[in-house]
Structure formats: structure tokens, C-alpha cells
């Protein structure tokens, strides 16, 4: 009996791996097109941010909030931030964008989430690797001080983005207008997440507010991993972890209760 169970479980798992793989390949084609140029655009976006804001701050004659390089400070902010944002927004639209695929009974709604999550996380990691390597190779930045800390920050931000995106996707199946709520939450996030400042340099009143935003903890953690002497006393990785787990748990619970009725 247990052998039968394991083999049918194994079969189901194999089937899901196959479906997720096919979805990733399909999604890559749709998103990045047939040429490698598509990937170039994905890298260009955070670089454009870094260039634009560095230039702006330079002409405003402002010092970087930390370190000597304005570009590196922004890059270490925008890169972890876009991992969270891209996961969140892409997953939120996963059900509605792939609705037609559910004609194939073999494709389960959750497969479309899993495949998008893998593709998004991989793309963002690729972008981070390319941009930071460019900094290091060109000699404009040192090697990161603590690589493990970098990965810890990225993993926790991925979890948060996954939870946020999954919860949004599930709610959108019931309440279509939630798409706008998702956008409303995401819009000020860039300014609330410490991309342009470090928590340490904020006035106390402002700090008391933004510290509730879990994303800023991930961003600050990433900088703490990159710079050897970053001041990150207020970073609570546990808070970020709990937020991510809580969102994921709530989303999965709702998904389970309305399963089969995703229309």
C-alpha cells in the first residue's frame, strides 16, 4: 500500500515538475521574447534607476547617505528592492494572466504561481549578479563583505515577495479591484524601503514609521552584508521572516478554502 502511495505521489510530483518546467520556458518566451535583448532590458531597468538618481544627487551636491559611492549605495538599495517588487507584482497577476491555461486540467493554478516565482527570483538574482559584478570588475566597488548575509537578505525578501504576491493573486480571484490595492501598496514602496536613504540617517519620527515596513529590513540587511561597517542596529531579520511566513500562510489558507473555484 505504501509503495503504491509513494509511487503515485512520485508520479504526481514528476508531473508537477514537468508542468512547472514547461510553464517557465513558456513564460520566458513571452516575457523576454526570442532574442537575448529581452534579458538586457531586465538588467537595464535597475541600472537606469542607479544612473538617474546618482546624477540627480550629484548635481544637488549631496553626499551619499553611506560610503563614498552614490551609485553603489543606490545599487545596493534598488537591487534587493526590485527582487521583492518583481516577485510581488508578477505573482499577483499570475492567475489572471494564465487563466486560459487552466483549460488544460493538468495545469493547476498553483503551478502558474510556482513557475513565475522561480523565473522572477532567478531573473532578479541574475540581474543582481550582473550589476554587482560590473561594479567590482570596473573597480568602483569592493567585493561584498559578507556574502552569506547578502543571501540571507535576498532569501527573506523573496519569501516576503512570494507571500505578498500569492496573497494578492488569491484575493484578486475573488475581488478584482484588489489589483488596484496591490498597485497602491507598491507605488510608495520605493520611497518607504530605504533605497534612497539608510534607516540610520532618518529623523526619529520618520524612522518610527518606516521601521514597520518589512521591506526596509531586507534592504538594510543587504547593505549590511555588502558594506563591512554598515550601521544596521535596527534591522530585525526575524520581523521580516515572520511577515513573509505569515503572508504565505494566510494566502495558502485562503487558496485552500476557495480551491477549485478560481475562475
Amino acid at each position: 500500500m505504501s509503495a503504491v502511495l509513494t509511487s503515485s505521489f512520485g508520479k504526481a510530483l514528476m508531473c508537477q515538475v514537468r508542468v512547472v518546467g514547461a510553464l517557465i520556458l513558456r513564460e520566458m518566451r513571452v516575457r523576454f521574447g526570442r532574442s537575448q535583448l529581452g534579458y538586457l532590458w531586465a538588467v537595464a531597468e535597475p541600472l537606469a534607476y542607479v544612473a538617474a538618481f546618482s546624477a540627480m544627487f550629484h548635481y544637488l551636491d549631496r553626499h551619499p547617505p553611506f560610503g563614498s559611492s552614490m551609485a553603489l549605495f543606490f545599487a545596493t538599495g534598488i537591487l534587493p528592492f526590485q527582487l521583492f517588487r518583481n516577485l510581488g507584482t508578477q505573482l499577483a497577476g499570475a492567475f489572471s494572466a494564465n487563466q486560459a491555461l487552466l483549460t488544460y486540467p493538468i495545469v493547476q493554478p498553483i503551478d502558474t504561481i510556482v513557475s513565475r516565482a522561480i523565473l522572477e527570483a532567478a531573473t532578479s538574482l541574475f540581474i543582481i549578479l550582473v550589476v554587482l559584478s560590473a561594479f567590482v570588475i570596473s573597480g568602483s566597488a569592493p567585493m561584498p563583505a559578507n556574502i552569506m548575509r547578502l543571501f540571507e537578505a535576498l532569501a527573506l525578501l523573496s519569501l516576503l515577495g512570494f507571500g505578498f504576491g500569492l496573497a494578492s493573486a488569491v484575493i484578486i480571484t475573488r475581488i478584482n479591484a484588489w489589483q488596484n490595492v496591490t498597485r497602491l501598496i507598491m507605488a510608495p514602496m520605493l520611497f518607504m524601503s530605504g533605497v534612497f536613504y539608510s534607516l540610520d540617517t532618518l529623523p526619529m519620527q520618520a524612522r518610527a514609521i518606516v521601521v514597520w515596513n518589512p521591506v526596509i529590513h531586507g534592504v538594510e540587511m543587504f547593505r549590511d552584508g555588502y558594506y563591512s561597517n554598515y550601521r544596521a542596529d535596527e534591522v530585525a531579520s526575524l520581523y521580516l521572516l515572520v511577515c513573509g511566513l505569515l503572508l504565505t500562510f494566510v494566502a495558502l489558507t485562503i487558496e485552500r478554502t476557495i480551491r477549485g473555484r478560481i475562475e
Binding site: 514547461a22 513558456r26 483549460t103 488544460y104 486540467p105 493538468i106 477549485g260
Partner: protein, 217 residues
Amino acid sequence: MISFANVRKQYPVRDGVKTILHDLSVRLPRRNIAILGENGAGKSTLLRLISGSEQPDAGEIHRHAKVSFPLGFAGSFNGSLTGNENARFVARIYGQDTDRVLDFVREFSQLGEHLSMPVRTYSSGMRARLAFGVSLAIDFECYLVDEITAVGDSRFQKRSKAAFKEKLEQANIIMVSHSNSTLRDYCDMGAVLHEGRLTIYDDLKDAISQHEVNQSR
């Protein structure tokens, strides 16, 4: 064989709910079955329930066969991908050899150069040919066909009929169509969906005459 155990399916409509299946318990034998019913009776929903792409509100559906996805006009293809890419995707999710599926689709659909063009440039007839080719390339034991056999010119219709006839030596078909002659071509028994109840007829003729009675009411 597909069996229904106490299956209920309802849809919310403007004033209340519409019941498509009211506590259905039935075993569909391994035969070629025509599904008849007036517009809006829920024939397409029934096919989606059989395929598993839609879940019943209550009860269970057991499939003791490899059932296809419902073949219909409602496209599941991605418009920005080419015909080949869409076919490759379906082949992959069903664990089929992609080259073999692509060869079959090219041969069967006769779409030629269009196969490397985005599907959004296709006419509805071309889409249907692609859908037909893709599903016939995969070996299902039961094909679910929704109003799609009437596409294309007579040459294509002849070719698809021949291809289906060959498949139907090992497989079965469950078909929705408004054309009685199409149903007679493919099916030997019938099921009539009327006001939330599905009635099985061993002889297709009886199903068609009951359907005509229902319609004239």
C-alpha cells in the same frame, strides 16, 4: 469510463443560481457519446467537468482513462507565441516527445509557414486546426470535443474525420455539437442535458428525438 457520484454544479446568474447538474450519479461507458441540450443548458461546462479543468460544487468525478482537455474555440493558446511554441508547450506538459508532436501538427494542420508566426495572427479556423492537431498528436483515451469539427474547408474536415476515425479505434470521444449529422458521424449513443438532469440513451436516435421534444417545448 467516467463516473459521476452525486455531482452538483451551479452558476450564479443575475437572479439567483442556475443549476447545470443537480445531484448527478452516472457512469459513462467507453463509447462515443453525443451530448445534446439547448443553448445555455451547460454542455460546455459538463465537458470541462469531465476533463477536470473545472471542479464540481459537490460530489466526485472519477476518470478511469486519460481524458483530453476540452477541444473548443475558446483558445488556450498564447497569442504572442508561435503555433510551434504553443504546440511544444502542450507536448511538454503532457510529457510527450516534442519533435514527434511538432511533426504531427505540421503534417495535420497544413499551416505551413504560419506555424512560426504568432498565434494572434491566425484566423479562428487556423487556431482550430492547430488545436485539433495538437490534441490529436497526444494519445488520449477519451477526446472531449466542443463544437469544433465544423471548422475549415471540406478538405480539412475530411482529413480530421479520417484522423479521428483512426484514433477512435483505441480511444473514445465525447462530443458537443449542434449538428445532428456530425453527431451521427462520430457517436453511437447520446446524453441529453435538460434542466439540470442528464439522461443517457443507449441509442443516439432516441437522444436526438428527446432533444427535439425538449426544444419544441
